[in-house]
Amino acid sequence: MVMLIDTLVTDLSYNPFDPALNFAIAQEYEAIGQTASAVSFYLRTAEYGFDEIGYKRELVYASLIKAALCFEDQKNREKTVHSLILKAIDYYPTRPEAYFHLSRIYEKRQEWQEAYTFASVGLSMKEGNPLPCDLKFDRNYLWFEKAVAAWWLGRKDQSILLFEDLLKTDIDDVYRASIKQNLLNISLS
């Protein structure tokens, strides 16, 4: 991994403002947990890719979300995480991924109306062009956020319905376990 960073950064010396190259370096640093280094290169990707509204638009959008996830990984940087997710939404408001992360932020804060609303907004968006990397997103995760928030907003029936529908999907095991636990809690309440 370090060897690959050697090569990429050496390439960068020839094209220091190339968004794709900065993004590739950021990904390599992030893969080994060097989130501070990754943030620098994700931010450079966003800054130097900004003018491109063609294929690099997804790169800039992904960089902002990835920078947010790096700060989240460092913990105790919630305002910065929130700000970067808002920037991603502002930059590309018709994609759903950033809305999921925003909804998740509000879920953690137990700000249920905000969590519910932004899950709903995200669900109204289409994924669109492929992204350059995984952003820890699945459309079912938005349904999950909506289901959780619905319960706390007094929409018990909707919450149960959404959770039960999610169990019929191929949602991943972590979420599946959480859904089952939530349904159990609801049945006991």
Binding site: Y29, A36, N76, R77
Partner: protein
């Protein structure tokens, strides 16, 4: 053309300096200093910080909530903490050994910047020393250079501070003394200023002036960077930095750091400097705190990038010679 590109085209190479994120939590590794030991070991002091520099550079389109250039410490901990790791590198400049330098616990820090910052590694009279600025001893962050003797156990790879001196200056009201450049072959001597060049002896406290010589007139303030190393029998060289600090229309701070080579004669009269400043990788925030000559004659310079990444750059002897002679 940036220096990395130049160096690579002439046969040098660039290597990242990384210690595992399980130890650092993924926050910044920056401003390394390099030193070649008598036994051939390539030693490096690597600064680890508990914060991450958020820099929205160039057009500043994605600033943080606190500005375009912000040190993002944990939101529930206002301190900007530095620890230093002593590393040994192999001939490919990969880190083979590392340990946190265990500093003496002399007092409770009383300002936000905690720890010895941008430590440069030297060996004087057979002892290892790291010197840098510390700002945590007063309630308003007064900075003074500190020279810290460290003992290194190379078998078990342990490094610990055994002696510390905080260097006072004649002007005791001076707010921040930093980036003094240690002179590799002159015990306890530092280049404090470049233009004119003031050399001080820190073996006494307060430090005493050794020389103050007018020399070549640089167009900018050449500030301290790497160690000062002997060059070609009779000269001394260092990599200095200069900074253009500015504010955007919102009054938010930003900056651009660039470097030059400075050349002195044996009496420490500045006789030349790079005609044009250079960048390592065309980042706005870069800082060189280390320069050393390898036994084969080549050079290695170490630098931080955006305060979040650290690198060692090998520069061939012929390229360095060209760069130095072009200064004169």
């Amino acid at each position: 053309m940036n220096l990395v590109q130049q160096a690579v085209e002439r046969g040098g190479r660039l290597t990242p300096l990384i210690i595992p994120s399980e130890i650092t939590g993924g926050t910044g590794l920056m401003n390394p200093s390099i030193f070649i030991d008598d036994d051939g070991d390539i030693l490096c002091v690597l600064r680890h910080i508990n914060y991450t520099l958020y820099h929205s550079e160039a057009a500043q389109r994605f600033p943080s909530p606190w500005g375009v250039l912000s040190y993002l410490h944990p939101e529930k901990d206002q301190h900007l903490r530095t620890t230093n790791y002593l590393c040994r590198l192999d001939s490919d400049y990969k880190i083979t050994d590392y340990c946190e330098v265990e500093m003496m616990n002399l007092y409770e820090p009383i300002w936000e910047f905690v720890g010895l910052e941008d430590a440069r590694l030297t060996k004087w009279e057979g002892d290892y020393w790291i010197s840098g600025v510390r700002r945590d001893t007063t309630p308003h962050g007064q900075g003074r250079m500190e020279v810290c003797q460290i003992e290194i156990d190379k078998v078990n790879w342990i490094a610990k501070e055994v002696y510390r001196d905080r260097i006072e200056v004649a002007d005791v009201s001076s707010y921040c003394e930093k980036n003094w450049m240690p002179i590799l072959d002159r015990e306890y001597q530092f280049v404090k200023w470049c233009n004119p060049t003031e050399v001080v002896y820190a073996g006494v406290n307060p430090a005493e002036q050794v020389s103050l010589l007018e020399g070549a007139k640089a167009p900018v303030d050449l500030r301290g960077g790497s160690q000062v190393i002997p060059f070609d029998n009779g000269y001394y060289i260092a990599i200095t930095h200069e900074v253009n600090l500015f504010k955007n229309y919102l009054g938010q701070k930003d900056g651009i750091y660039r470097h030059r080579i400075a050349v002195w004669d044996k009496d420490f009269k500045l006789i030349g400097y790079s005609a044009e400043p250079f960048s390592f990788l065309d980042g706005q925030i870069e800082f060189c705190a280390g320069l050393a000559q390898l036994p084969n004659g080549d050079f290695v310079a170490t630098f931080g990038f955006q305060d979040n990444a650290a690198f060692v750059l090998e520069i061939t002897a012929d390229l360095m010679s060209e760069m130095v002679w072009s200064c004169l």
